[in-house]
C-alpha cells in the first residue's frame, strides 16, 4: 500500500512498533492489577485481621498480572535495541 504525502522509514516504523507493543501490552495488566488491588483493599476493609494472608496473595496475583506487561516490555526492548 502506498501512503500519499508521507514517507515512513523502516526505523520510524520500528519505534512505532516498540511503542505499540508496550503501550497496548500494559493496558490489560494495568486493568488487572487495578481490579486485583481494589478487591484486596475491599477484603482488608472487611477483615483487617487477615492482612498478612491477603497481602501475600495480592502480591502473588500482581506478579502474575505484571508478568504479562513484562513480556510486552521485553518484546518492546527487543524491537528497539536488538533488531
Amino acid at each position: 500500500m502506498i501512503i500519499p504525502l508521507l514517507e515512513i522509514s523502516d526505523a520510524a516504523l520500528k519505534y512505532v512498533g516498540a511503542a505499540m507493543a508496550i503501550g497496548l501490552g500494559a493496558l490489560g495488566p494495568g486493568l488487572g492489577i487495578g481490579i486485583l488491588v481494589g478487591k484486596a483493599m475491599e477484603a482488608l476493609g472487611r477483615n483487617p485481621e487477615a492482612a498478612p494472608v491477603i497481602q501475600t496473595n495480592m502480591i502473588l496475583g500482581i506478579a502474575f498480572a505484571e508478568a504479562i506487561a513484562i513480556y510486552a516490555l521485553v518484546v518492546a526492548i527487543m524491537v528497539g535495541f536488538v533488531f
Binding site: 502473588l60 505484571e66 508478568a67 513484562i70 535495541f81
Partner: protein, 359 residues
C-alpha cells in the same frame, strides 16, 4: 518550609538536567541485552557452544562468594541468646522459615525451605548488589567491529590509554549511518566505511571508537541467569512431586486416559509446566533489565545527584526485593501444587475450610 523544600528540589532537578544537557554532554548509554564476554575460555566455532566468562557470570560468582563469607562471619560465634549481626541473620532466616511453613505446613515446609530461602536470599542480594555504583561503570574497552554479529550502531570515543576504562562525562558519542546497509559481505564493507568516516571525523590523536564492556553487571539482566534459576526451580518441583506421589501418581497428573476431559486437563497441565519456565525467567529478567535501563537512562540524562535519581533508586530497591520474593513464593506455591494429588487437594481444601470455621 515543606513547600520551600519541594520548590528547591524541583529547581535543583531542572538546573541539573540543564547542566547535563548543555554543559557536561554525556554520551548516550549503549544498551546490551546479552551478557558480554570478558574472557573467551573455549571456542568451538558455534555461538551456542562457546564457553565465555561473561560479566554477569563473574558477578554471580562474586555474589556467591560474598554470601558465603557473610554467612560464615555471622555464624562464627553462635550463642543461645543471639546478639548483634548473628541476631539479625537469625531473624531473617526465622522470618523466611515462618513464611515457608505457614504456607506449606511443618512437614513439607522443612523440605521446601532450603531451595525457597536460597532463591530469595540470593536473588535479592544479587539485585541489591547490582545497585552499588561500581556496577556498569568501569570495564574493558572493545573497539567496534564491522562483522554483523557484534555490530553496535553507536560507539563512544575512548582515550586509548590501556588498563581499566571509564566513560567520562565529556566523552564523544557517534551514531553510525548504516540504516541502508545490506546484509552479508556488502553490508560489512558498508559498515566498515561508516566506521571509518565516523572515526576520521570524531577521533583525535590517541583516541579510538569503541564500546565499554563493564566488569560487573547485574546478574539478572542477562536472560541466562533467570533461566537457570527457573530450570533449577521447576526441575526440583518435578522431583518433589515424584517423591511424594510416586512416579505413576505424578505422571497421572499429565497423562490421564480416564475420561476425555481429564485427558485434556492433563495436556493443559503439561503445557503449564513449560509455561512456568518461560514466565519465571522472563518475569525476573524483564523487571531487572527494565530497571537497569531506567537507571542508566536517568543517570545519563541527569549526570549529577538529583532527587529524581534517588526516587528511581528507591524504586529499584523495592523491585529487586519484590521480584526475589515473588520468585521464591511462586516456587513454593507450585511445589505445594506438585506434592498434593488431585483427590488430596479437594480434601485439603475441605480441611482448611473446617479449620477456618473452627477458628
Amino acid at each position: 518550609m515543606k513547600r520551600l523544600l519541594i520548590l528547591g528540589g524541583v529547581a535543583y532537578t531542572v538546573v541539573t538536567i540543564g547542566l547535563t544537557i548543555f554543559v557536561l554532554k554525556p554520551p548516550q548509554p549503549i544498551i546490551e541485552i546479552k551478557g558480554e564476554p570478558l574472557i573467551h575460555v573455549a571456542d568451538f566455532g558455534n555461538e551456542m557452544l562457546n564457553f565465555n566468562i561473561t560479566n554477569t557470570l563473574l558477578t554471580a560468582w562474586i555474589a556467591t562468594a560474598l554470601l558465603i563469607v557473610i554467612s560464615l562471619v555471622a555464624v562464627r560465634r553462635r550463642k543461645l541468646v543471639p546478639t548483634g549481626f548473628y541476631n539479625a541473620f537469625e531473624a531473617v532466616i526465622e522470618l523466611l522459615y515462618d513464611f515457608v511453613t505457614g504456607i506449606a505446613g511443618e512437614k513439607n515446609g522443612r523440605r521446601f525451605f532450603p531451595l525457597v530461602a536460597t532463591l530469595l536470599i540470593y536473588i535479592a542480594f544479587a539485585n541489591w548488589l547490582s545497585l552499588t555504583p561500581i556496577f556498569n561503570t568501569f570495564g574493558v574497552f572493545e573497539p567496534v567491529h564491522a562483522e554483523e554479529e557484534k555490530f553496535h550502531e553507536s560507539a563512544v570515543v575512548f582515550k586509548d590509554s590501556g588498563g581499566i576504562h571509564l566513560i567520562n562525562p565529556g566523552a564523544g558519542f557517534v551514531e553510525f549511518e548504516v540504516a541502508d546497509c545490506a546484509s552479508g559481505e556488502e553490508g560489512d564493507a558498508c559498515r566498515e566505511h561508516a566506521i571509518e568516516t565516523a572515526a576520521s571525523e570524531k577521533t583525535g590523536e590517541g583516541e579510538e571508537l569503541g564500546v565499554l564492556i563493564p566488569y560487573l553487571r547485574g546478574i539478572n539482566t542477562d536472560l541466562m541467569t533467570p533461566a537457570s534459576f527457573a530450570l533449577v526451580s521447576v526441575l526440583t518441583i518435578q522431583w518433589w512431586g515424584i517423591r511424594s506421589l510416586g512416579f505413576f501418581g505424578y505422571a497421572g497428573k499429565f497423562i490421564n486416559f480416564s475420561s476425555p476431559i481429564n485427558f485434556f486437563v492433563g495436556l493443559l497441565e503439561s503445557v503449564a509446566e513449560f509455561a512456568k519456565l518461560v514466565s519465571f525467567s522472563f518475569r525476573l529478567f524483564g523487571n531487572m533489565l527494565a530497571g537497569e535501563i531506567l537507571l542508566l537512562v536517568m543517570t545519563f540524562l541527569i549526570a549529577l545527584c538529583s532527587p529524581l535519581l534517588v526516587i528511581f533508586y528507591g524504586l529499584e530497591l523495592f523491585v529487586g526485593l519484590i521480584q526475589a520474593f515473588v520468585f521464591a513464593a511462586l516456587t513454593l506455591v507450585f511445589a505445594m501444587g506438585a506434592v498434593t494429588s488431585h483427590d488430596e487437594h479437594e480434601h485439603g481444601e475441605e480441611a482448611a475450610h473446617s479449620e477456618a470455621a473452627a477458628h
